[in-house]
């Protein structure tokens, strides 16, 4: 069995029929991490118990016990998700030594499905960034060309998956953090509808926007993984109680008659010619497959980036108030606690523990929520958010899925854009409105730039319509000319 090409289902079936052992599969990926990770810095912690976990799966198989649909499939997990007994940092110095006492629901559901955990993946600090350059643990690199960023914030997940250091990975997406790195690294990534996946045990960035999702190598694997992690969780009151469809068995590449929306307002933006080309080709292919392309208008999407940063920074400033040097995490080195004030204790610890981008957003968010500014910024952004969400709901009455680019350009060079925050923020123009409106969004690889960097296509669906998005992605994957290409680091 070629473990670099095998699907989750093939591996799980082989493990359950004892054609291959979970230990062999896990060993294979651990050795890839050992050999290739030094070039990428995608994994920032390796699970020393990974082989024990695999062994436990094999023993269950031996005793004919049920092992779940992902039996023996090894995953890497973004460092935003708590993993019991395995260091979880959110890419920050302030959590450098944090060992969670429990698993995030996503992680425990994966384990219940038979997954073994290989380790934890690099990311921008507290998921604040689009290049993985804000990580306390150093840059992660793009396996297609290590002079380029893998994207962010789930850069480690995307790089590890593209280089096949794991069979599957999990990322989180607050404003594009699954879809943008998936596009930059040539993998499949889906952000489920807000409320589809439990946020319990996921380090909070912006609670009304955060969702976790699979970052994997095929649409089928994404569907299988979603089935394992979606669904109501009593530990997260914002999870939906809707039934989770069997995404993988309902997967279909038949898009005949499906209505594909093209957003009028996106046409005015400046786009890299290779992105433009990929996007036009995707539209053309879908038409050939019998889909109907219609123009739709979402005027307020023009304001998505300002809305997003005002809301996300505000929520972050509140969520990150918990890092105070008292209960867990980093504490500044104080010689004598008895002679200092609690305020100085907090300020010193937080000033030393957070990186520059996180501090910038805490400052922005604190300002937006402060007396005299709350109405003009946070409240106003929330009002526009409702109006934009309603425009999306209206548009999805006339189309099934919206097709768009993921980003305006392919991956950029390390250091190229990190100096100016506003330029960096404006990168998120195609991805943030999905989170603001709570929709589902996906990136599927479909093109390659002239200098051999992958380009994804974004599909956006109405609330809880992951199946439609998966099906259009599946159709595109089937006719994609880039699906067999592999990166330089592989």
């Amino acid at each position: 069995m070629d473990l670099l090409k095998a699907t989750f289902k093939q591996v799980s079936d082989a493990v359950q029929t004892k054609k291959v052992s979970a230990v062999e599969v896990t060993k294979f990926f651990l050795s890839r991490i050992e050999n290739l990770n030094p070039q990428l810095n995608a994994f920032i912690a390796v699970n020393s118990k990974a082989l024990d976990e695999a062994q436990a799966i094999d023993e269950k198989v031996k005793k004919n016990e049920s092992v779940g649909p992902l039996a023996g499939v090894p995953f890497g997990i973004k460092d935003m998700l708590c993993t019991k007994g395995l260091r979880t940092t959110a890419g920050s110095k302030i959590l450098e030594n944090f060992i969670p006492p429990y698993d995030a629901t996503v992680v425990s559901r994966l384990r219940n499905a038979g997954v073994t955990i290989l380790g934890k993946l690099n990311q921008d600090e507290f998921a604040m960034g689009s290049s993985n350059e804000t990580s306390f643990f150093g840059n992660c690199k793009n396996p297609w060309n290590t002079a380029f960023v893998p994207g962010g914030s789930s850069g480690g997940s995307a790089a590890a998956q593209a280089a096949r250091l794991a069979m599957g990975t999990i990322g989180t997406d607050t404003g594009g953090s699954i879809r943008q790195p998936a596009s930059f690294c040539g993998i499949v990534g889906i952000k489920p509808t807000y409320g589809r996946v439990s946020r319990y045990g996921i380090i909070a960035f912006a609670s009304s926007l955060d969702q976790a999702g699979p970052m994997v190598s095929s649409v089928e694997d994404a569907a299988v993984c979603l089935e394992a992690i979606c669904g109501h969780d009593p530990m997260d009151s914002t999870t939906s109680q809707r039934k989770v469809p069997s995404f993988s068995s309902e997967l279909s590449s038949n898009v005949k008659g499906m209505r594909i929306g093209v957003v009028k307002e996106y046409a005015s933006g400046r786009m890299h010619p290779d992105v433009e080309k990929t996007y036009s080709l995707a539209l053309e292919k879908l038409k050939q497959l019998g889909a109907v392309v219609i123009e739709v208008s979402i005027p307020l999407t023009e304001f998505a980036v300002p809305m997003y940063y005002l809301i996300a920074a505000s929520e972050a400033s509140s969520n990150l108030a918990r890092y105070d040097g008292v209960k867990y995490g980093f504490r500044a080195d104080f010689k004598d606690l008895s002679s200092m004030s609690l305020d100085d204790f907090y300020s010193e610890t937080r000033g030393q523990g957070f990186g520059a981008e996180v501090k910038r957003r805490i400052m922005l968010g604190t300002h937006c929520l402060s007396s005299g500014y709350y109405d003009a910024y946070y409240n106003k952004a929330g009002q526009v958010r409702r109006l934009m969400r309603d425009q999306y709901i209206e548009v999805f009455k006339s189309c099934d899925v919206i097709l768009s680019p993921v980003t305006t350009s392919p991956a950029f060079k390390l250091g190229e854009r990190s100096s100016d925050p506003l330029t960096m923020y404006m990168n998120d123009i195609f991805t943030t409105s999905t989170n603001l409106a709570g929709l589902t969004g996906m990136s599927v690889p479909f093109g390659m730039s002239a200098d051999k960097l992958p380009i994804g296509i974004q599909l956006t669906g109405a609330h809880f319509e992951e199946q439609k998005v998966l099906n259009v992605a599946y159709a595109l994957e089937n006719v994609s000319s880039v699906k067999l290409e592999v990166p330089h680091v592989y």
Binding site: Y194, L342, S347, R350, R360, M363, A381, A437
Partner: protein, 93 residues
């Protein structure tokens, strides 16, 4: 305009010690960002309820019961400084 006085006020509210260099940098950057973001002022939102949770989540109830899932030792294991099961902090009274 986010001047130095306002930056210091925000840093104090956020319990965030920043250096004079950071204060200057953040002042300039936040001014630029907020000037750009002010474009949302153009939109008429009179009488619109702000949106927080973007999807319709059904209300559900669960019994309000105490579960002993973790030991106190587990919960304080990550504390930077502790005395037994207590967190050590500067004097607050």
């Amino acid at each position: 305009m986010i001047d130095q006085k306002l930056i210091e006020h925000i840093a104090k509210l956020a319990r965030l010690k920043i250096t004079p260099l950071e204060a200057t940098e953040y002042g300039q950057q936040l001014t630029k960002v907020l000037n750009h973001f002010q474009e949302i002022d153009k939109i008429n939102t009179q009488g619109v309820e702000p949106l927080v949770t973007p999807t319709d989540i059904e209300f559900y109830e669960r019994a309000d019961e105490v579960h002993k899932r973790y030991s106190a030792e587990d919960m304080v294991a990550n504390a930077p400084e502790k005395a037994g099961q207590l967190f050590k902090v500067p004097p607050v009274v």
